[in-house]
């Protein structure tokens, strides 16, 4: 009876270069994985889908008297990692965007308050709680401004927190990255390149 060999692919993998060794996307049971280290698979573009059939065609000659069975997913999506780029340029871009967000947010909230006449509402609140009419009420306005920051930060979790409690921001980024991966994988499979 032939000896049995099982292999399983990873679902997604990230490659450091233009060719990925089979060792990093496939694991075997029933024999050593030593021959896998030498087989390289060339990548096409940003994302390549490596099917189990492809892998089986490559490892069949390496294990001549084994019966090979696939126990994992039928395809593996391999993504090319971006080259890092200059860190100085990245820092400059981040700083520029920080400035844009800072001033943009400031003007946006100013126009919003002007639009809804929030200062009138604040002096109404002050009149409700004290009975005195007053035009400018920093007693109400300053805590309100601090509260805006607190509410925003509370939702997006910019402070340190436990890893088991992900915030809205983590889930949002995760969804976006999934969509990006699906898009890249679909692009890789299109017939016209």
């Amino acid at each position: 009876m032939k000896k049995e060999l099982f292999f399983a692919l990873e679902k997604t993998a990230y490659a450091k270069g233009p060719r990925v060794p089979l060792y990093s996307i496939c694991s075997v049971y029933g024999a050593t994985a030593q021959p896998l280290k030498n087989v390289l698979i060339p990548l096409k573009g940003a994302a390549t889908t490596v099917t189990a059939l492809d892998v089986m065609a490559r490892i069949a000659p390496l294990y001549p008297d084994y019966a090979i069975t696939n126990l994992g997913p039928t395809e593996c999506r391999v993504f090319m990692q971006h080259s890092p780029g200059s860190p100085l340029l990245k820092v400059l871009k981040v700083m520029l965007l920080c400035l844009v967000m800072f001033f943009g947010g400031a003007v946006a909230i100013m126009t919003f308050h002007e639009d809804v006449s929030m200062s009138q509402v604040h002096s109404d609140i002050y009149a409700f709680f004290t009975g005195a009419e007053q035009e400018n009420v920093p007693v109400v306005s300053v805590p309100y401004s601090i509260g805006v920051a607190v509410g925003f930060v509370m939702l997006f979790g910019l402070y340190r927190r436990r890893k088991s409690r992900p915030t809205v921001l983590d889930i949002d980024i995760h969804n976006y990255e999934n969509q990006l991966r699906d898009y890249l994988a679909a692009q890789g499979n299109r017939p016209d390149g």
């Binding site: 971006h82 990245k90 871009k93 981040v94 965007l97 920080c98 400035l99 967000m101 800072f102 001033f103 943009g104 947010g105 400031a106 003007v107 946006a108 909230i109 100013m110 308050h113 002007e114 200062s119 604040h122 109404d124 609140i125 002050y126 009149a127 409700f128 709680f129 004290t130 009975g131 400018n136 009420v137 920093p138 007693v139 109400v140 306005s141 300053v142 805590p143 309100y144 401004s145 601090i146 509260g147 805006v148 920051a149 607190v150 509410g151 925003f152 930060v153 509370m154 939702l155 997006f156 979790g157 910019l158 409690r165 915030t167 809205v168 921001l169 949002d172 980024i173 976006y176």
Partner: protein, 137 residues
């Protein structure tokens, strides 16, 4: 007859306004996201009851000339808590319109995104403070 019709119109207007406002906030995900971010579950009844009570109180205060003179500290507290609410609404709006993934392209690490959001938030606070504390506006 005129009084009855006016009363019915006012009631209908109130119902539609309250429903529309609440539907808007539910669509943004304000209530669900804010309770999840604090780790609470099953807060539907709590959220709807407190929002309804708040809406009723706000309507009564603005439309009738009532006073409850208990001091300035409560006015500050009211301002702080309503500011937190506005901050949550802004954050949910930013999340629904997918602005975070769009700015994600500028910073590959999570730290960069945190910096960008912090700049955004500080800008909003600074804008609010300038709007009220300087004599220009």
């Amino acid at each position: 007859m005129g009084n009855l019709l006016s009363g019915v119109t006012g009631l209908s207007a109130g119902i539609v306004t309250g429903t529309a406002l609440c539907a808007f906030y539910i669509a943004l995900g304000v209530f669900s996201n804010s309770s999840v971010s604090l780790g609470l579950r099953n807060t539907g009844l709590l959220m709807s009851a407190s929002t309804a009570a708040g809406g009723l109180t706000g309507a009564v205060i603005t439309l009738f000339d009532v006073r409850l003179p208990i001091g300035e500290a409560f006015a500050s507290l009211c301002g702080l808590l309503s500011g937190v609410y506005v901050g949550i609404v802004i954050a949910c709006l930013a999340e629904v319109t997918d602005t975070i993934p769009v700015i994600k392209n500028f910073g590959r690490t999570r730290q960069a995104i945190a910096f960008l959001l912090l700049a955004f938030v500080l800008g909003k606070t600074a804008g609010s403070l300038i709007y009220w504390l300087s004599g220009v506006f």
